[in-house]
Symmetry: C2
């Protein structure tokens, strides 16, 4: 039954209830009482007596009626025994507010493991430990199972926060903005009830119109990705990107790893799931308010109305820079406005109705935009002049909002005390109302981002059929079983070939004669490489010879390498010397619990100096492969500008997808670096590959 | 005497005063009265009578005492006559609130020209027209000469806004945040009293600690640049960048022009002047509050204190991304905090004093940071737990602020009603207090930007001495006088040579034999170019031949060009074929009223595909030339990465400065394009130049 009992408990007990006001055991009871919780509240304290007028019970087992949720606020080491009692009592879920678990080190972690084991054994759900708790404002429930201080107002925004501090800041800010909340959860260490599970619960809750998520880390990124993907299809999920500048992951020897910031994976998870991501709590809260009261726009085309120019310019800047579009007005709209507005009014987008415009002018402008098929949303920038019937304007805005199926967002620039009634009429109508033009613009932009996410085709990654699975497994498992940290170059090329990824022609050889024989089969010119795991930087150490034109030169180079690297008894790889196309690179890195992050970039300077690379999480779909290419700053180089070879983009997209399939089917691959791949007008072929296991 | 009479008038008249409440003529009198203006107020209305209890005069000439400022709110066409009367009366400045001037087209512009002429003739200063007016909160003056609705509180922020709407939004927001304003001015069309002049007035006003500027365009950019540069050295000047996404300037044929966005010049003016620029009004207002109450930090190193982790992470992200630094704590600080804080507290930067920390812990952490030489500012992130003596914490913060010479900025995350006293103590102490960690972080970052601006050396552009001025003027004036739109290639190269800018060796020739003779002097290989103004795209049309190795080939090419371009009777330029170094480009474009904007970029793909270019305004100093190079994304390519030639950066810096001098001394140059310049390990030489006049 999921988390229903947790969020809608029939009765709540507080184990560790207290009469001392500055304790959590008192505060929770106070919050439940003052918020008007619909069920019975049972304080539990061995001393008995009364707490805030309620009889206290010596043990959870002595409480008279069934209890769905029990808060546990006693000393950390007593928690496991208490959970056993709760399970005996038939409690459905415990909220362990007590701290002193995984966050304090090994002893705490051991204690937390006991909680997990108890949950598994008894079926009781453990929320926390080291957490705030939950809130449900449903008028039939009114469960304030939390020790925070923001008195919630019922509404349509649900919040789940890993950090209780940030969760409370978000809740507080939304309350301050006069907007209601539906459900709230901050699950601290999250040992049992998880954020993905809470996300799904909010997703199924009809009264939740928008979900706000704050996470700092993803203990199970794949579970989060799956839950978020499902939920974001149904309702907007807004999330903060935090830890963006944390020290990078440990340096790794391949380009791929070196280029990827620690948080990249979370950012990529958000993108793949269709989450609307924010860099700023304030903006996240403001956007949540917009989503909670307005429909999702059909697209990113905004029609703007202003009664003074300055703020409209600021709003326009912000919209355009955030990826929105301000299309010209339709001829019909223009004609209509010419008739209805002052002759000096500016009939463009933004529409300037002039400072002297009254209710009828605003009404005309709003309804013209609602009826104009060229715009998806209406953005009002309203400064309240003292000589205008602003209350009348407000009523027209409210009225238009009632009829509109397009979102309406307003900036109302005013002196809030003097114009309280005007503001109130607009707000009560459900038009999200902001102080600053750029705030409203960014809210609309976030709605546009969600709209474009909803338009993505529901696409699954291609599974290319003709893979020689037996050969693949024998290469990968063979290497893993023999404890090798990486594949030989020959095995790497074999692996690519098994997945239908084009490579330069190649042959392995164990000695000089073998090299010559291989070159005869391939045809000159050839490239010669030593092939030994011990040699990581082949090029720097003389382990690669390019452009060998004849058997004598080949023999000479092979003999040199054989003697130079005699200590590691290397094999050789003889390779076709490819004509140079455009150099690109595909890399990948395994991320625990998630799969792989795949990287694409232009080779050489573009990767190393300009860091012009893009990332996606496996499995990479066709759309995502296209985005990986088109999102590069230098992607035009692949289109053949300035006399460069035009690259076969289709072939590159396919390589990315085939690599993705290879990674998904071979989770043993820790890092992959196909560098360079030469892209030609027709096709693309890998010239080097390195696979770490 | 500057603008003293305007901002501190001994008496104010309102010509066009009215008894109808919704008129500007009533509103100004109401504002003056309610704000408690210190001098007499004279309503002027031909009907006489009383207005808000004050006797109205039929004409400005009938007012009894000297009048310093007269508002004019009568019909636009009556304004000039009224100004003449005001001049007769001895009025020092008129504030023309009336609209219907330059903003309505030619008729209005003619009327406005009359105002300018009257100001020149009579010496009266004209503020406006089409404007709000001024405010001065000086307790000895209290001049609310404005029809807006925000009742000011005296403080230290002064505001000058081109858009009255935006000015009022800024004023309103600052008032809402409970912070005071010193002076306010919105001068509308600004026909006489200008924003640079107002800026200087605010700069000289001791009680103004920070200046906020809103501009949408710069009628006289050089005057603004000079005033802002002077003032920003003395106190922080904060400004909004607006119109960032306006349609680009008209396409021009050179790269330089094509690459420069319309607003680039304003952005560059801000940067050169040392203005702290913002993209967001809210952030600008929040930063103004910070600057108004706190000292400027010595640098960008922040020490942070938090009592819960989540907000500290968000604040850290924002600080680092904004260019701030969070250094490790000194050993002394660490030792001190180990003694004073809870054992579980995190003694790093950020310092986590823990949610249970009380006044003594906060006091210890703040004083440790104030005493730590490794940090320049202190950033508190304080969530108010109900179980802590938050009022005590607030008192410690206030106390520390009194002692500190470093700026202290605080994020206080709380329920504002319940914790009103706590908040009040912090605010009253003058600690700027924000709701969100990212807001506080950005305020500190803006202070850091100002601090680093103050550290710039006071440097003037180099004037290279050995310029052949006579030759220069003869080239440029000769071309201008003969009505040529551009210099010939030979003249272009001569001009560069006059300024000591290295070029490929070159000779002019008028016929085929001349070309051969020129090549003999230069030495093969050579480049041959047709030289005729009519041929703009020489390379595309066959007007350039590279790598000519011998006289026969030269003769053949010259004959071909002579016949191909026979219709324009071209001359020829024979040039030394340079060995290829790193390709760079220096361009420039004249900006009316400002000088030139100089561009630097890496040539070819980097300019055309990656748009990796930088800009500065002439005269370009040594520091600015260095910044132009180091701010390129690809600037590492010039340092010789990946086997590229290492470029002589000193030579490039010098070329940029010499070009700057050439532009400054030859304002006739409309556009310049030196492309390519080949940079070598030792020196750099121009291979092509185009000069439009």
């Amino acid at each position: 039954m999921g988390l229903d009992a947790l969020f809608s408990p029939r009765a709540v007990a507080v184990v560790g209830a207290s009469n001392r006001e500055l304790t959590i055991g008192y505060r929770i009871i106070q919050n439940l009482l003052e918020f008007g919780y619909s069920g019975p509240i049972y304080p539990v304290n061995p001393k008995g007596g009364e707490i805030r007028g309620l009889p206290a019970y010596a043990s959870i087992l002595e409480t008279p009626e069934p209890v769905d949720v029990a808060h546990i606020v006693i000393k950390n080491t007593y928690v496991p025994a208490c959970i056993e009692d709760c399970a005996k009592k038939g409690v459905k879920a415990v909220i362990v507010n007590t701290a002193g678990f995984r966050e304090i080190g090994d002893d705490g972690a051991a204690l937390e493991d006991q909680l997990v084991a108890l949950a598994a054994k008894t079926g009781i759900r453990v929320f926390g430990p080291n957490c705030q708790g939950i809130i449900n404002t449903d008028p039939a429930v009114r469960a304030y199972c939390n020790f925070t201080f923001t008195r919630p107002v019922p509404g349509h925004i649900s919040i789940v926060a890993q950090s209780g501090g940030v969760g409370e800041v978000i809740h507080q800010r939304i309350a301050e903005l006069g907007v209601g909340v539906r459900k709230y959860a901050s699950n601290g260490n999250g040992c049992d009830v998880s954020i993905p599970e809470i996300l799904r619960h909010f997703g199924e809750d009809e009264q939740t119109k928008v979900i706000v998520v704050h996470i700092e880390s993803l203990p199970d990124p794949r579970a989060f990705l799956e839950a978020a993907t499902e939920v974001a299809r149904v309702k907007p999920v807004l999330a903060m990107k935090v830890g963006r500048t944390a020290e990078g992951a440990k340096a790794v020897s391949s380009h791929t790893g070196g280029m990827m910031k620690q948080d990249t994976a979370i950012e990529l998870v958000f993108d793949k799931a269709g989450i609307v991501a924010f860099r700023n709590i304030e903006e996240l809260c403001q956007s949540a308010i917009g989503f909670a009261s307005q429909p999702v726009p059909a697209g990113n085309r905004v029609g703007m109305i202003a009664n003074t120019g300055g703020p409209a310019i600021i709003a326009t800047d912000e919209l355009i820079e955030s990826g929105m579009v301000m299309p010209p007005l339709s001829k019909k709209t223009e004609a209509f406005l010419k008739e209805k507005l002052y002759p000096e009014a500016s009939i463009n987008n933004p529409i300037d109705v002039l400072a002297t415009a009254g209710p009828e002018h605003f009404a005309a402008a709003i309804s013209a935009l609602i009826d104009d098929d060229g715009v998806d949303s209406v953005f009002l920038n309203f400064v309240t002049p003292f000589f205008v019937d602003t209350l009348g304007v407000a009523r027209e805005i409210a009225d238009a909002n009632r009829r509109s199926t397009k979102p309406i967002v307003a900036t109302v620039m005013t002196e809030k005390k003097g114009w309280a009634e005007t503001l109130d009429v607009i707000r009560k109508a459900g038009v999200p109302t902001y102080d600053m033009p750029e705030t409203g613009a960014r809210v609309l932009a976030s709605m546009g981002r969600y709209a474009s996410m909803l338009k993505r085709p529901a696409e699954t990654a291609v599974s290319f059929p003709e893979v020689d699975t037996d050969r693949v497994r024998s290469i990968v498992c063979g290497a893993v079983e023999s404890g090798k940290p990486s594949l030989s170059a020959a095995d790497g090329f074999d692996l690519l070939s098994c997945y239908g990824i084009g490579t330069a022609g190649y042959r392995s050889a164990t000695d000089v004669d073998g090299c010559v024989a291989a070159a005869n089969e391939i045809g000159y010119p050839v490239v010669l490489k030593v092939d030994a795991e011990a040699i990581i930087h082949k090029t720097d150490t003389g382990g690669v010879a390019l452009g060998i034109d004849d058997p004598d030169s080949l023999r000479e180079q092979a003999e040199r390498m054989a003697s130079q690297f005699a200590n590691v008894s290397p094999a050789f790889l003889v390779q076709e010397q490819l004509e140079e196309g455009q150099e690109v690179i595909v890399g990948a890195k395994a991320v625990e619990g998630l799969g792989h992050v795949v990287m694409f970039g232009l080779g050489g300077i573009y990767v190393e100096v300009l860091k012009d690379v893009s990332f996606k999480i496996t499995p990479v779909t066709g759309r995502e492969a296209r985005e990986m290419i088109s999102s590069l700053r230098a992607h035009k180089l692949l289109m053949g500008v300035r006399g460069q070879t035009r690259a076969d983009l289709g072939a590159l997209e396919e390589i990315i997808q085939r690599v993705s399939q290879m990674l998904t089917e071979n989770p043993e691959i820790r890092e992959l670096d196909i560098n360079p791949i030469f892209a030609f007008e027709d096709g693309a072929r890998a010239a080097d590959v390195r696979v770490l296991l």
